[in-house]
């Protein structure tokens, strides 16, 4: 199942700089896209989401951009902090009968160096 893909397994960034995590999808029926982050020995925690009818959503240091024509979204973290070091998952959902069914990407390991 390759409906949601995160092609970069890892990303290393200096503290204070911008982190850009990318995600591509193939199913144009997705209505929402969500980002979760995961620390070791913990479950994924919700970060930010975006509706397919929008192209940008911002929450503090986190901004998600959606390019529907390219079927691509990205998560920007500015400025990056060492505590942001985690695995970031892109996920997608369909409205209506989804009932919490998320389709996840493989995840990108973000390391923020002090």
């Amino acid at each position: 199942d390759q409906q949601v893909k995160q092609n970069s397994p890892s990303l290393s960034v200096q503290e204070g700089r911008i982190s850009i995590l990318n995600c591509d999808y193939t199913n144009s029926m997705f209505d929402y896209f969500l980002w979760y982050k995961k620390y070791p020995a913990e479950g994924p925690t919700f970060l930010i989401s975006i509706s397919s009818i929008k192209d940008k959503n911002e929450d503090g240091r986190f901004t998600v951009f959606l390019n529907k024509s390219a079927k691509h979204l990205s998560l920007h973290i500015v400025p990056s902090q060492p505590g942001d070091s985690a695995v970031y998952f892109c996920a997608a959902a369909r409205d209506g009968t989804s009932y919490g069914k998320l389709t996840f990407g493989q995840g990108t390991i973000l390391t923020v160096h002090p």
Binding site: Y36, G43, S98, G100, K101, F104, G107
Partner: protein, 115 residues
């Protein structure tokens, strides 16, 4: 912030044995879910549950799997006869309304090892 709790954190079992993974969702949440992540692979949806019924299930969730809310607080996943390929981290999650754009609250997971 309220948490979803899962027990045990680790479970080792022999192939063919039955296992029950337990979860306590957040108390005012109405929708409950199980996901799993096989080592090195994606997090995969297994099943969603609402009002004592399965709302949706994936093709992974075959007859060997079942879910139950035995009382007002617990939510369980049973694997009837475990296989080696069932070895994975199993995550329980819950949400208030089951909407597509609603955030799910995940537990810390149960690492199941089938020998």
């Amino acid at each position: 912030e309220p948490e979803v709790t899962q027990t045990p954190s680790h479970q080792v079992t022999q192939m063919g044995q039955e296992v029950i993974l337990r979860c306590v969702p957040i108390s005012n949440h109405l929708y409950f879910y199980w996901y799993r992540q096989i080592l090195g692979q994606k997090v995969e949806f297994l099943v969603s549950f609402y009002n004592n019924e399965i709302s949706e299930k994936s093709e992974i969730f075959d007859d060997q799997f079942s879910v139950e809310r035995p009382d007002g607080s617990n939510f369980t996943l049973k694997i009837r006869s475990t296989k080696l390929e069932d070895s994975a981290m199993y995550f329980c999650a819950s949400s208030v309304m089951g909407l597509a754009n609603e955030k799910l609250f995940f537990g810390s997971g149960t690492q199941l090892s089938v020998l």
